[in-house]
Amino acid sequence: MNRTERKIKKAFENATPNVLGPILSQCQQQKGAVSPMKKKSRPLTKFVNIAASLGIVALLFGIGSVAGMLLFPDNPFTPGSSLVEPEKPDGLKGSIDVPAGTTDFEGFNTLPPETLPEEYRTVFHYSYEEAKYIAHHALIEAFPWLQDISHCVISGEYAEGGTPSYIFNIDIGGHEFRISVDEATGNIADSQRLLDGQWVDCAVRFDFITKEDAFNIARGNFSREFDFSDQAIAAGLLQDVTITLDTGVYNIRILYDGIVLTMDLDVITGEILSVNLPMEKDDTISKEAAIKVAMTDAGLYEDYLNGEYQVHCKLFDYDPLPLYYVCFNVMKEDIGYVWAYVIDGIGGEIMASSRDGQYPGDYLISPGTALDRLLDRLQVGFYKVTCLKLNTDAKPYYYIRLQVDGAIYEVEIDAYTGEISNIISGGEIDPPTTIDQEQVIKDAICYTECPDDRIENLTAVLEEYDDGAVWVVRYECPNCVHQFRIHAETGICHSMSSAHKLPGICGIEKAEEIALKDAGVSIESSRFCISTNLRGLEDEPYYVVYFVLRGTEYRRTIDARTGEVLSRDEPVDTYGISEFEATIIALHTNGFTADEVDNLACTQKRFGENNEALSYVVSFSRDGYLYECWIGAGFGEILSIIRTN
């Protein structure tokens, strides 16, 4: 359970009243009056039936994983005469200091240490490349000074005799080794070093999480949502498992009842690096399926199949789920209209739709029409639309937030009829207020679970920027340091950084200063977002500093001991629709074409209180009105339309 889930659980637990007394009292009164409930029987789900038939396929999995390997029956190892400690060329003793593998993580310990049935076991075997990685890294761990030598030649063989294993001859700068890796477990079975023309045993080992452990970690994590019991496996729900070792990370892919689950684990610590429940690529509906959903809803699917429509369909791999944007032109009385749909890439459901122009029957009215209806009702002059969105969850309605002469109106408009269905508010705008220090400290402490009486060195400093003020709250728990940037007016926490207190490690502030300096930027907004975390505590500690500035996302890793910048990610650009598409959407939403407006311009900006959404702002003028349309850069949803005269 993650932090958000824990907070939700705690809130509902605390909200639950205790009504046990009245319940027991009423049950006492009604004792004996038992009226049986009617129960509706449910057929077995389609998934279970499919899974049972696919179970046979699952049994076959993995058999091919070792097929095709070269077989070398002879073991070239010769018994060593003595065991030597790792030694540096200058005679100084080396040390083997490998962090112990751990599988301790939330949820895993609740499971018994089970393994997959026998037919799946080959999944846990190691390929040639994986064994090569293990052999090489075991050697580096045992003889750290080898890292400084760039010349390295590794050749390997597969030996089936006795215990199947891979045998690697490794030459690093003239230092020759032979390492044998057990094909089934990945363990170092034997290791020798060539010294003075003699092969002698040497102490080489590599503590890491095995594939079997990795699978159990994954299963432990996923079993909170999926049944991994023996019965479920016997029923064929577990259809496929693939575990590959790639540069220190296990990539685990589990096909469970038609759903792809993926997880990445650190091969040494077992730390979960990333988890994905439904994996988009394997679980995403096809482009044709998305088009079918949209065109069927539009009543045009047959025409589409007959080639009468050119449809633009694009998949956006969004987190948390992929979305299809389906767009096409509809001609009515020689006038072209753009219709657009947003389709859930996994479930194939219509998430939102936009149909411009005049609609017959049960078609939705356009956002522009909804706004006009509201303005007709209010009869106002100068106004500003701060939000206009279509909610299609149940009965579709437009939510419009309008600012008129200091008053804010929040209204819901029936998207079928255009009737005003609900007026949520219509009051005065509250002047901006600054949250006091006491409140902001209380809020900041809520973000961690450190008890109040164990907090030390608490400071809260108000920093002023052109666009507002921000409280910078910093405090220490027994083991950690925390730092927050909380907007003084909204109370929104824009930045959250935490790190363990360890000797010889530079502080969060220093790490952030180095990262910002390296990127050539400075904090210039009260909404500046920065997050810093300390990682790699078992080995070489480093800070990961992530920050967003003017719509661009940066990431820097900083050596926590030396302050050196270890890596720089290029600014991240994750958004999809083009300026042209945004412009088209904005124009058509308001019922215009590019030829009918003046001063047409499109720029990219951030939108929302948290500055969280990247958007296009399309502006133009027409009939004495100035239009400013905010369009989501993701899939072109309308975020806001501002029309002023």
């Binding site: 939700i8 809130a11 509902f12 639950t16 759903i259 479930g347 149940a394």
Partner: protein
């Protein structure tokens, strides 16, 4: 206040046994059942009704209903789903009887729930976010999974939705809540 069982999966047998004991008239079993599942029931009711007073009534009615119907319960290893089905039916009946559509405006953050002294500022923020940011389905899915401890597959069955829909809505909802904090 009732506390949800830490691991609902391992408590399936316990709950089955408790329902059987309730059927045989044990008030101790009913009390234990309430303590194990009450939070899940109340939260699910609140997620449907968006009104703490009504949810409290449903919480009470639900266990009275369980007390009445325990004799007809046949274990299918889904005791929590059975209890939540009763909860859902009671909620829908309440909505139907009152002939009211729940709107955002009806969730009055300054009323009963907001004044509840057991809730701290963060709890109120979370509940407010759940009620205002999430759609009805998203809220019910989140509550059923996080608070009631149902698996997504069981939620899909309970709510007559596709598993993929439940998964995607759940992830979307958690993302919304995460951004809200």
């Amino acid at each position: 206040m009732p506390r949800q069982a830490n691991n609902p999966r391992s408590d399936t047998t316990d709950l089955d046994q408790l329902i059987a004991a309730v059927a045989s008239g044990s008030t101790d079993a009913l009390e234990r059942l309430y303590r194990l599942t009450g939070t899940g029931v109340y939260s699910f009711a609140l997620s449907i009704l968006k009104n703490s007073m009504d949810a409290e009534d449903v919480l009470q009615d639900c266990y009275i209903q369980i007390h009445r119907a325990a004799g007809s319960y046949k274990s299918q290893r889904k005791p929590m789903a059975w209890i939540l089905t009763i909860t859902k039916n009671l909620c829908y009946r309440r909505l139907r009887d009152a002939n009211r559509a729940v709107t955002l405006a009806q969730y009055d953050r300054n009323s009963h729930l907001a004044e509840d002294q057991r809730l701290d500022a963060e709890d109120r923020l979370v509940l407010q976010g759940c009620m205002e940011l999430l759609t009805d389905e998203e809220r019910q899915i989140v509550v059923l999974h996080v608070v009631s401890g149902l698996k997504h597959r069981q939620i899909a069955e309970l709510m007559d939705l596709k598993l993929s829909t439940v998964l995607s809505k759940y992830r979307r909802a958690i993302e919304k809540m995460k951004n809200h904090f």
